[in-house]
Amino acid sequence: MGEVILTMQDIDKSFPGVHALDHVHFDVRRGEVHALMGENGAGKSTLMKVLTGIYTKDLGSIIYEGKEVEFHNTREAQDAGIVIVHQELNMVGDLTVAQNIFIGREFMKGFRIDDRRMIEESKKLFDELHIDIDPSTKMSDLTVGKQQMCEIAKAISHECKVIIFDEPSAALTEKEIEDLFVIIRDLREKQLGIVYISHRMDEIKVITDRVTVMRDGTYVGTLITKDCSKEDIINMMVGRVIYEEPKTKSMCPPDAPVVLRVEHLNAGKMVQDVSFELRRGEILGFSGLMGAGRTETARALFGADPKQSGDIYINGSKVEINSPQDAVNAGIGYLSEDRKRYGLVVQKSVIQNSTMACLEEYISGGFINKKKERDVTEKYIAELATKTPSAEQLVVNLSGGNQQKVVIAKWLAKNCDILIFDEPTRGIDVGAKNEIYKLMSSLAAQGKSIIMISSEMTEILRMSDRIVIMCEGKKTGELGIEEATQELIMDKATRNIA
């Protein structure tokens, strides 16, 4: 670790009604990876937005390379050498990789953009980073992982000194994360200051040198990563102790009736001859590696994707599910891993989202009965402990965990007895995660049946009563929670892979 390149002192920022940052301190040294952690809403992103000029601070100072600075927009920060790799990819899909990397600062030959030189420069950049991408490919033809690599290359091409990664691994596969870490280590070698924002505790331990934790807009403390434990960081983040104990025995009685039986489901390459049963009050975990076909199985079951063959029985009688509408009518609710795209209409209120799936129940005489609608919504807000200032609040203003609760409310309002949770806690911070877990357990206790697709082993072991393991579109195993271990699941999840 070298000298301090960037110091943010006593940064204070208020929005109407919210004290977003309260005298926050943060610094970055040359040649270090500094993790910035905290629950959603802790102020991490706000702090980084203040740094890169998207927000202006109310108080405090930013000292960069020994001088006090203030940036007014991302461009100024970029020019000074501070760049940010956003969580959501900021790529223009219809332009090529090279055109994206140099967008806004194209090489010119008079009026003409010098595309050839841009491709050459991109090649050089990729060689330096050991990335294997053809710069003349159209951006939208690349996988998300590759797009992320391009985004990083773009950031680095600004000759930056400080680079901020905002949850870079959220959309990456294990292999891609490894590639990313190679690049980050490389950048550290080159004496860049690196800020790494992530929720994934395992990554923090692997890649970072120091950890700064924020909570509710305040600075909690900074630790040397190798001297602290995972629990230390979590405790600082939530200010309370969280136990992540695996479940030891099934909460579902073995004689509980089977509510859903899927037989020989086939849907393309990703779902081949999948059969399983789901009992009343059971949480059935679906485990497997990326691309194992778990989401595809759920989508085929839900009627969102066409299936070639397979029978579905609900409460013992065969049902035809050819569209999500059929599935919902049969009492199946699907909670997508991508809530904002498939689960919610974020620009609408909590009420409108909660009653979306069963609006016809609130219609009297051709009009929507607003009072009935509100009563039901408020019932679920109370029941699920959704944190929202009012039922009228737009969903976009809620945190990830509370958005998830609105989706759950939507399906509960529709009286769905079978709920499919696809990565229920993706992008949700540790505290809210716990609440979602509790909620799922209590739903199961009330007699709802849950299919939970999860890529997190701890989540699978903590929540499931029974575990179905898939690999490359096939079911490769089924384990009761009593016999399941991490090793056993991994073994089955890689069974098909030579």
Binding site: N73, L89, N90, V92, D94, S140
Partner: protein, 329 residues
């Protein structure tokens, strides 16, 4: 070789070119009249303003917007300038310049409404469409000078005439200008900042903004270009229409916009080509002016154009779907 062949077939422009050739062949077979040079001439005459409007509106369409004001705008500018020529002895060259300037002004207004005021493009340009139509209605019917009158020289921009009377030879050099303009705008679209950011805005506006590009500026420019071409179209329109009628022009923009989509501009923005636009408009023009030659009422043009458009947009959608599925597997 096979790869090259399939790539060519995958290019919508190639398919459109085949459609054009097909139409011409069908017309030639079934209509003696169509085989005459004079028919070709008149068809080309009536294509110029459509081509110009379409080239201009290609840019807003690539950004994912639209410009509905070009049709009524074109007629309005032509009337305004024509009135100046007839009643105030305005030189024709100045009147032509004014057409373009009027067009750019309305384009600027569109751009500001869309980019600064955040109005949806459909709504913003619908408003200016009504405004220009209203202004156009206030004018009286205005014949610009005809070819034989003094000041009628501007007709020869589009059609050179040698000799006189029945034996006169006429050359449709207007079409040459169209090709040059199309090539110029194709170059601008693909090789200048303006073009590149037009595509970028249509593909992902947020990302473009975050790349530090003045999206507002370029977004306005896109509508100014569209207006500029509506102004150029006004000149071409004045040159072919005997009398420009007040209050007309509504619907003409739809031919142009339809042509652009036939030419392969993505229905959701982000992709387009000006050469494609030229080809697409020629299909529309062939349907519009050609069908009567084979004995079909021109009403059929609308119906057939509608179906052609559905086909063209479906190609775009299917292509996108294929691209998406090849990416996930």
């Amino acid at each position: 070789m096979i790869k090259k062949k399939s790539k060519l077939l995958a290019d919508q422009r190639f398919i459109v070119l085949l459609v054009i050739l097909g139409l011409i062949i069908v017309y030639m077979i079934f209509s003696q009249e169509f085989r005459k040079y004079s028919s070709v001439l008149s068809m080309l005459d009536f294509s110029y303003y459509d081509v110009l409007m379409a080239v201009g509106v290609t840019f807003p369409l690539i950004t994912g917007g639209v410009d509905l004001s070009i049709g009524t705008g074109m007629v309005c500018y032509s009337l305004l300038a024509g009135t100046l020529v007839r009643n105030y002895n305005c030189p024709v060259i100045v009147a032509m310049l004014l057409c373009v300037i009027f067009g750019m002004c309305i384009g600027l207004l569109n751009g500001v409404l869309v980019s600064v005021m955040d109005l949806p493009p459909f709504l913003a340009t619908l408003c200016t469409c009504m405004i220009t139509r209203g202004i156009g209605s206030m004018m009286t019917a205005t014949p610009w000078p005809t070819l034989k009158q003094p000041g009628g020289w501007f007709h020869s921009i589009f059609k050179l005439t040698f000799g006189s009377g029945r034996s006169a030879t006429k050359l449709p050099i207007g079409f040459l200008w169209m090709i040059l303009i199309v090539l110029l705008m194709e170059f601008i679209l693909n090789h200048t900042k303006f073009g590149r950011y037009t595509i970028a805005i249509g593909s992902n506006k947020e990302a473009t903004l975050l790349s530090g590009i003045s999206v507002k500026k370029y977004h306005i420019a896109v509508y100014v270009v569209s207006g500029l071409f509506a102004g150029l179209a006004a000149i071409a329109y004045s040159a072919v229409v005997p009398t420009v009628q007040p209050g007309t022009g509504a619907g003409l923009e739809l031919d142009a916009i339809g042509g652009v989509f036939v030419g392969g501009v993505s229905a959701t923005g982000g992709y387009g080509s000006v050469i494609g636009t030229l080809l697409g408009v020629m299909v529309i023009v062939l349907l519009k002016t050609g069908l009567p030659y084979i004995g079909l009422q021109s009403n059929w043009q609308q119906i057939i154009t509608g179906f052609v458009l559905i086909g063209a947009v479906l190609i775009d959608i299917i292509k996108k779907r294929r691209a998406a599925s090849s990416r996930t597997s």
